[in-house]
């Protein structure tokens, strides 16, 4: 049963600290998406990659957020420095991109910045 995995599942940190979230897409999927979910804003697309190349990161605060795909099996989302307003659930999703539009979501990382 292929799944998207995310680590950590929960993260509590203090304001100003660096936070790194990791995602392992489904093997063979070439498109990876990062979303953020909050009660106020709902589901927001932060960035996405195709074949490891960033295609759109317009939804991401550039000054503190960065997203990378060091290899095809790992995507990372970093926040440095973190702020209380970054508290949210961060989801990774993967898909086959142009061949198939369905996205498959991971379980999320619940981030709390104190």
């Amino acid at each position: 049963d292929a799944r998207v995995t995310q680590t950590p599942r929960d993260k509590v940190t203090e304001m100003g600290q660096e936070v790194t979230m990791r995602c392992q897409p489904i093997l063979g999927h070439n498109t990876v998406f990062w979303y953020r979910q909050t009660m106020m804003q709902g589901l927001e697309l932060l960035a996405y990659f195709r074949n490891r190349a960033p295609l759109d990161d317009s939804g991401m605060p550039k000054d503190r957020f960065s997203a990378e795909m060091p290899d095809a099996t790992l995507a990372t989302l970093k926040i440095q420095p973190s702020e209380p307003r970054d508290s949210a659930v961060y989801f990774c999703a993967s898909g086959l991109g142009e061949r198939e539009e369905t996205q498959y979501f991971g379980p999320g990382t619940r981030l709390l910045v104190l």
Binding site: L43, Y48, D56, G97, T102, Q103, G106, P107
Partner: protein, 112 residues
């Protein structure tokens, strides 16, 4: 502008009754349409999608959705609701160019 609307923040239904969760969209052309479900503390889970063909699409867990091009709607339905169907439901549209556009979500509450 391309958008998806879910006009109801919450839908309440008694177990055993039929349910409908509404979705309308504003996208040019012939978009692909999706429904996802999110259970507490979980990621979004794909339920069903419409690409072309029969306007009634069947998906997981007994759900189905009806595509209506003239009304630009894609309502989610189930003939008989279960308490375990209680969750957050998202409608999404794929207008092309990679990204899904999600609605704001509708919370479905099924009462015993």
């Amino acid at each position: 502008a391309q958008s998806v609307a879910q006009p109801e923040d919450q839908v309440n239904v008694a177990e055993g009754n039929p349910l409908t969760v509404k979705c309308t969209y504003s996208v040019s052309g012939n978009p692909y349409l999706f429904w996802y479900v999110q259970y507490p503390n979980r990621g979004l889970q794909f339920l069903l999608k419409y690409i072309t063909g029969d306007n009634l699409v069947k998906g997981s867990y007994g759900f189905e959705a009806e595509f209506n091009k003239s009304q630009t709607s894609f309502h989610l339905k189930k003939p008989s609701a279960l308490v375990s169907d209680s969750a957050l439901y998202f409608c999404a549209v794929f207008p092309g160019a990679d990204k899904l556009i999600f609605g704001t979500g509708t919370r479905l509450q099924v009462f015993p």
